[in-house]
């Protein structure tokens, strides 16, 4: 057909002029090459030019756009937003809290025994072989004393058996005897309290040691500096004594404190200077979340709110501005929330000047992902078409040139690959890839491989068909006569003649491969997050909420696919017309 084009062109020039021209006349030499003729015809086709423009724009969009865009394809956009955040939680204290004297400890079993004893109303209990006594200070508040046995005395003979490591002075001995005679169960000697525990005829003399306080009262310090003092045994003891006995003042370490109790049972302790020093209550208020420090003012306000069951209250914060807190009641727990700023992923944000197509479900810029997705969609198309051409030309060329058995066998192979249904096979491969947990990059290659392996047969058929007819032409007989090797004959003389048709077919194929890749990605069989292709971006529309409410996420990639495929089809059509003007579209 190329020969024909040339002759047409020469015939077109008027023969009269031709005679006057010299053989090397520039006008005479200036005959358009076949390639130029094709190009000329192609550029005359309006539809093809439209297609070409579309493709150029799309390529610029995908490959240059990705460089220009200020965002990366996996950049997640977050924003601060005001939301009701958990702030604190409060509950009526039902557990005993322990304040131990310095150096004293209480074992876990002793603590559980205390809980048992207080619930039963007992004031003595035993744990780990030792006896304990609870001395009530007030309601749900006890002083814990441990009884350390120092000796046993037989009541009849007064014979004394001293525990190992203990020494008993004479004075103490006489005090013990005196107590036993008088039948006392408690006595003091030398500022230490002793207790007598009778078991049958034996009396056990125990030294009574105060360990600490078990109380349900919660005492919070107003400032961090005073926390150690407030949590100390001495302070606590005096404070609790004053609290439970409705006294208005108490003294610790020579300092005088005054106590002010309101009708709810909450008390505020003021120091000598009249400053608020500590607060006592039966309600525990704890921060609900990390990095929250509750001020005592908040705690007191929260307690008031809990007692009054108000749903909201305000407390001034550190800078003095009023902050509103809301209270929710869940069973016996009280939760406080406040408006706080929080970092949130900006999901499904509508298009704006900084994100022209909005943000997707992961808070990523849709436009940027479209650009990067375009790269993959277009690249997949080109790679697959290239591989298809490579396999197809070799198989088709060999089959067409040699014919007979070679042709028969190769064509059966082509039939086999051609008959394997694409989508069922792709679904199987997709399922296998899913179950083997293949990385998203490896999936692209697997995808391209499957597309190429199941798609090369058309190329092979076209090449074979063309070669079968070209083989019989005179120029092939000439190559045979001149003794050109077979390889050269196929690839230098036959294939170039098939090329125009192949280029047309490849261009059209590009479009259909882009559709197929998009479809597979849409079905979740192709590309996976975090990589994107146009198809996998539309995949979001599988979510009914995205489809109905966020058209700006799935509509643009669909239009891009449509444009790309239209572009390839227009160009393919134009090329076909340009290569072979006889062939009517």
């Amino acid at each position: 057909m190329k020969e024909e084009n040339k002759t047409n062109n020469i015939q077109a020039s008027p023969s009269a002029e031709e005679k006057e021209m010299a053989l090397d006349d520039a006008r005479r030499v200036k005959v358009l090459s076949p390639g130029m003729l094709v190009a000329k015809r192609f550029f005359r086709n309006k539809l093809a030019i439209i297609g070409l423009v579309i493709l150029v724009v799309l390529f610029l969009f995908a490959f240059i756009g990705g460089l220009i865009t200020p965002y990366s394809q996996t950049q997640v956009f977050k924003g601060m937003d005001m939301i009701q955040k958990d702030y604190a939680a409060a509950v009526y204290n039902s557990e005993l809290r322990y304040t131990m004297k310095e150096g004293e400890t209480l074992s876990g079993s002793a603590k559980s025994q205390i809980a048992l004893a207080t619930s039963k109303g007992n004031d003595t209990f035993e744990a780990d072989g030792a006896g304990y006594t609870l001395i009530p200070i007030g309601e749900d508040s006890y002083q814990i004393t441990k009884l350390d046995a120092i000796c046993t005395v037989l009541t009849s003979s007064k014979a004394m058996q001293v525990k190992e490591g203990e020494t008993i002075s004479d004075g103490l001995k006489s005090a013990i005897n005196a107590a036993l005679d008088a039948g006392q169960s408690q006595f003091s000697y030398g500022g230490v309290d002793y207790e007598v525990r009778m078991t049958g005829k034996k009396a056990e003399i125990c030294k009574s040691v105060t360990l600490g306080i078990a109380s349900k009262l919660v005492i919070d310090a107003y400032s961090a500096d005073s926390e150690a003092l407030v949590n100390s045994y001495d302070f606590r003891l005096e404070c609790e004594k004053a609290y439970h006995n409705n006294k208005t003042s108490f003294t610790v370490d020579g300092e005088k404190y005054t106590l002010e109790t309101d009708e709810d049972g909450d008390a505020i302790v003021y120091d000598a200077a009249g400053e608020a020093f500590a607060a006592a209550s039966h309600i525990i208020v704890n921060p609900n979340g990390q990095g929250i420090n509750l001020s005592i003012e908040f705690k007191m306000a929260a307690r008031d709110a809990v007692e009054a069951r108000t749903s909201s209250f305000t407390v001034p914060d550190a800078s003095g501005s009023e902050v509103e807190y809301k209270m929710n009641v869940v069973n016996s727990n009280f939760y406080f929330t406040t408006m706080g700023s929080s970092e949130l992923i900006r999901r499904f944000e509508a298009p704006s000047s900084s994100h022209w197509l909005g943000l997707d479900s992961n808070g990523m810029d849709v436009l940027t992902r479209l650009m990067y997705g375009g790269r993959i969609s277009l690249l997949v198309g080109f790679v697959v078409v290239f591989v298809e051409l490579f396999i197809g030309i070799i198989v088709g060329g060999v089959a067409g040139y040699f014919g007979k058995i070679v042709d028969n066998v190769l064509m059966r192979v082509v039939d086999l690959f051609n008959s394997i249904p694409f989508y069922p096979m792709a679904m199987i491969v997709g399922a296998v890839m899913d179950s083997l947990d293949i990385s998203s990059t490896a999936r692209i290659f697997a995808l391209m491989f499957v597309l190429a392996v199941l798609g090369w047969t058309n190329v092979a058929r076209t090449v074979r068909g063309q070669i079968l007819s070209l083989r019989e032409q005179e120029f092939m007989m000439a190559t045979e006569a001149t003794g050109i090797p077979v390889k050269r004959r196929i690839f230098r003389h036959l294939i170039p003649n098939v090329m125009p048709l192949l280029i047309v077919q490849a261009t059209m194929n590009l479009g259909s491969i882009i559709i197929t890749e998009a479809t597979l990605s849409f079905l979740g069989l192709g590309l996976k997050y975090p990589l994107a292709s146009w198809g996998s971006i539309i995949n979001a529309a599988n979510d009914i909420q995205v489809m109905t409410s966020y058209w700006y996420i799935w509509m643009p990639p669909g239009l891009l696919i449509l444009l790309a495929v239209l572009g390839f089809n227009f160009v393919g059509d134009g090329l076909r017309d340009a290569f072979d003007p006889k062939m009517k579209r």
């Binding site: 086999l416 008959s419 669909g558």
Partner: protein, 329 residues
């Protein structure tokens, strides 16, 4: 002719078997987690007398997973030839039974689509050919290219967005409405029909382009033939020339084109069925295959393989029947 058909059938059988073998080899790459799940389910059933391990062994041998790929395939093939494709793992019923339940929807959907497609694309193709290089021709060509260039799923979503979400004319999913069971027979048919409108439109929009271009090309070829010139020279009305002399001769390639449509009728509606969630063979196999249901996937693949071979054979035979000049050797 008879000899050719027999040869064709034999080759077809070889291709079907090799195609199934390729699929089987790929599908065996799946991990056997499904077997383990199934075994765990059955072992925890109070009426089961076997332990988990016994169930695993039994199920593995039933599905031939303990043998190599080739031996396993021969076992599968032996059962398949006798029509036993095993029990679907996903649906828990024999594969063939499930197929019979769902194939109806696919056939209804595709037959309606085919009629609509023929009614629209052949007249359009003829109009385009008659007015070659005129405005109507360009318009029809661009329209057809648009149809070809639209990805099925995108068109389906677009239609759903416009007609279901914005206009609320149709349900988004499924083939029956909420009150299906309370309707009488006619009501039920209308309900299904109502649900099939959008899928049919989707499938038609996409397939019109190909058939229309094919009609146009063939019509153009026929219109350039000598006998058309003769008919015109005789002074026949243009209508008669087109409808009787030209169109009848384009039927030959059209008939062969149609037989190629048969396999795509069953596999081509896969995406449409999936997007609209119509329980036809496409959607059902999509669900089964993506979950690693080996028996169902193998069945669906073999089914389409056989269908393709049958359609190729049919195309050859039809060609010979329609055009007495064709004598295959």
């Amino acid at each position: 002719m008879g000899k050719y058909i027999i040869k064709r059938i034999l080759i077809g059988i070889v291709i079907v078997i090799s195609g199934a073998l390729v699929a089987y080899a790929v599908i065996r790459c799946l991990p056997t987690s499904f077997i383990e799940n199934l075994a765990r389910q059955r072992a925890s059933n109070p009426t089961s007398s076997k332990t988990y391990q016994e169930w695993v062994t039994q199920l593995t041998s039933v599905y031939g997973l303990d043998k190599g790929i080739l031996a396993g395939f021969v076992g599968w093939l032996g059962d398949a030839v006798r029509g036993d494709f095993g029990e679907s793992w996903e649906y828990g019923v024999p594969v063939v039974l499930k197929f019979k339940q769902v194939i109806g929807y696919t056939i209804i959907l595709n037959v309606i689509t085919l009629f609509v497609e023929l009614l629209i694309s052949i007249p359009l193709g003829i109009i385009a050919a008659k007015n070659q290089y005129k405005k109507s021709d360009y318009a029809i060509t661009v329209f057809a290219l648009m149809g070809i260039s639209l990805p099925t799923f995108f068109l389906a979503i677009l239609l759903k967005y416009v007609f279901c979400v914005k206009l609320g004319w149709f349900d988004m999913y499924g083939v029956t409405g909420r009150y299906y069971n309370q309707l009488d027979t006619i009501g039920k048919m209308l309900d299904i029909g109502h649900h099939l409108v959008l899928p049919v439109i989707t499938l038609t929009m996409l397939s019109i382009g190909g058939l229309m271009r094919y009609t146009r090309t063939n019509m153009l070829e026929v219109l350039n033939a000598d006998y058309i010139r003769t008919a015109r020279a005789k002074g026949l009305p243009e209508k008669k020339v087109i409808n009787k002399h030209a169109f009848r001769n384009t039927l030959i390639p059209l008939v062969s084109y149609m037989s190629y449509l048969i396999p795509s009728m069953f596999t081509g509606s896969l995406i449409t069925e999936t997007v609209y969630q119509i329980p036809g063979i496409g959607y059902i196999s999509y669900l089964a295959t993506t979950k690693g249901d080996i028996p169902f996937a193998m069945f669906y693949l073999t089914f389409t393989l056989i269908l393709t071979q049958v359609s190729l054979l049919l195309a050859d035979i039809m060609y010979a029947v329609v055009d007495p000049r064709v004598r295959i050797n």
